[in-house]
């Protein structure tokens, strides 16, 4: 699943069209979904972003193969071209800094980003936005750092009054390729950290229920050993579990010896 977070309706509009998303009323936030994507419109500013992202992720807890992308506009120094898409490698919020892991190749320009409280007319050294640090904070409780990306599109050179709604829609629309590129690169570096299929997992849990906690964890280790050592082999069939405590212990020892042989 791809979680996309935008602050403004105007930022979301091009995405809704492009990905053919449908309005979803599951949360008291503006939400659009299809079978692969959840797009959340968080509202402007850090506290809106923090609350909306926390609500979304608490409601739909991400898996370890899911990704999160924050896309939105940013003000930037004149060295950045208007309309340019930036991939953020450092978010500064006053004295705190946050770093998404960029473990993939891409063609975007990388940049630091400063997260501020209000739209900025004053000049800054780096591009600025108003939500990224809060999104990072909320999302990093649910995602690993390599599952998140922050894509910002330069909308103005610290002249927010020049940015119109239509302009924002167009800025996002003209950078959908960049967004696609980051999505697919990001998805590519995710790998599941579960070793078992759901059925296998249920079976393992059932088997463990016959044993004490310590015995169960020894069995877990042996099964993990087997799966990692022979990734393509099915888990061996389990023996019948005897009733007597002593026999059960012996059956477990035999099973562990077999799995780790």
């Amino acid at each position: 699943m791809i979680y996309i977070i935008a602050a403004l309706d105007a930022e979301a509009r091009a995405l809704v069209d492009y990905y053919q998303l449908k309005r979803d009323s599951a949360l008291p936030y503006t939400l659009y979904t299809n079978e692969r994507i959840i797009l959340l419109v968080s509202g402007m500013g850090k506290s809106n972003a923090l609350m909306a992202v926390s609500a979304l992720l608490g409601w739909k807890i991400p898996k370890n193969t899911d990704i999160l992308i924050n896309i939105g506009i940013c003000g930037a120094p004149a060295a950045y071209e208007i309309g340019e898409a930036l991939l953020i490698h450092q978010i500064q919020d006053e004295t705190r800094r946050y770093y998404p892991d960029i473990l993939y190749t891409h063609s975007l320009r990388e940049s630091p980003l400063t997260c501020v409280d209000e739209a900025q007319s004053a000049l800054h050294d780096a591009p600025v936005d108003m939500e990224s640090s809060a999104i990072f904070q909320a999302a990093s409780r649910f995602f690993k750092l390599h599952q998140m990306a922050f894509v910002k599109i330069v909308s103005d050179h610290f002249a927010p009054e020049t940015v119109s709604k239509e302009g924002v829609v167009e800025l996002i629309r003209s950078n959908l390729d960049a967004l696609d590129e980051v999505c697919s690169a990001l998805e590519h570096v995710q790998s599941p950290d579960t070793l078992y299929t759901e059925d296998e997992y249920k079976e393992v849990e059932r088997l463990k229920s016959y044993f004490t906690k310590a015995q169960g964890s020894a069995l877990d280790d042996a099964l993990n050993y087997f799966r990692l050592k022979h990734p393509t082999m099915p888990l061996p069939a389990y023996p019948d579990i005897p009733d007597s405590k002593r026999e059960r212990k012996r059956a477990l020892e035999e099973l562990i010896a077999h799995l780790t042989a």
């Binding site: 692969r36 450092q90 770093y99 590519h188 950290d193 562990i256």
Partner: protein, 339 residues
Amino acid sequence: MKNSSHTSPPKLFSHLYIERSVLDHPQTQMIRAKFGESQVIVIDHYKEVFNRPSQSFAAQSRSKKLILARKEGKFLHEGSQYSDGFDHKQFFYASSVMGCLYDCDYCYLQGLYPSANTVLFVNLEEAFVQLLPYLGEDTLVATSYDTDTLAIESLTHQTREWLAFAEDHKHLHLEIRTKSANIKSLKSIAPNPRVTLAWTLSPQEIIDVYEHATPSFEKRLSAVEEAIALGWKVRLCVDPVIYTEHFDSLYPKLIDQIFETIDPNAIEHLTLGSFRMSQNHLRALKKLRRSDVAFYPYAVRDEMVTYPERIENTILETLLSKALVYLPQERIRTWQRQL
């Protein structure tokens, strides 16, 4: 959604995180020149990147980043019980690097550090200042203890600096342990009899499965051969031995292969040891669920995990009897748990 073809991982050290305080350090500048295409991200302290919560060691291992920092405090630490101090009066290991370019499944660094990235402390000159008070007596310093310094020598030149420092201090002995095949730095320096190069050698089948990103057995062996020819003192380590189903054939064959190429009289010692680790590090390794090595049913004693005694004995007996074909007992060192 369109699919783009970004399947290749980024170049090594695609990102350089550099502490503001070392931006102007000569070594920083040298590294920046070498990695001209890498992104440079200025940070205040290495911990804000290296110690971040929610990192994935496994994912980062496929795309390592470099952090350049200034070490505050001690560069030198006393040697640990898991290692051999070779009976020197004082034994330290120097930690000028955190993390390793290589990625061995059995490496305790995975349990020690929250990140697979590498931190390079560029102010090595301060390690030498800290070491000076000890150099009135026989002192061994392992310079490649929590890492493989030779693996990144072309980048850091730290081994070169250690060797130059050791030349001037007659009580200082160095041990440089490595799996690297890059010995370029040794070629321009006269061999120092107080420096031991210790190569870890493993069967190629073990390298393929457990020692990711390391040079092949053949390349390591050529480096050993060359270092000996240059006149350096060399120790060979078949340590840690990983017990697998083909252990009986893999490891004896390894010892034969080594001594088909290397004259046994040309090496100082052969070190043999089976896998061992502190229980805490193993717990952390298990959480990563990356390799079967973490899940073997080891025996635990005094917070240390080892193979069960029977297997540990089999490993040592098998290797020892093979090694004795080539070397006298006194030149073979074995690591075995203290009973």
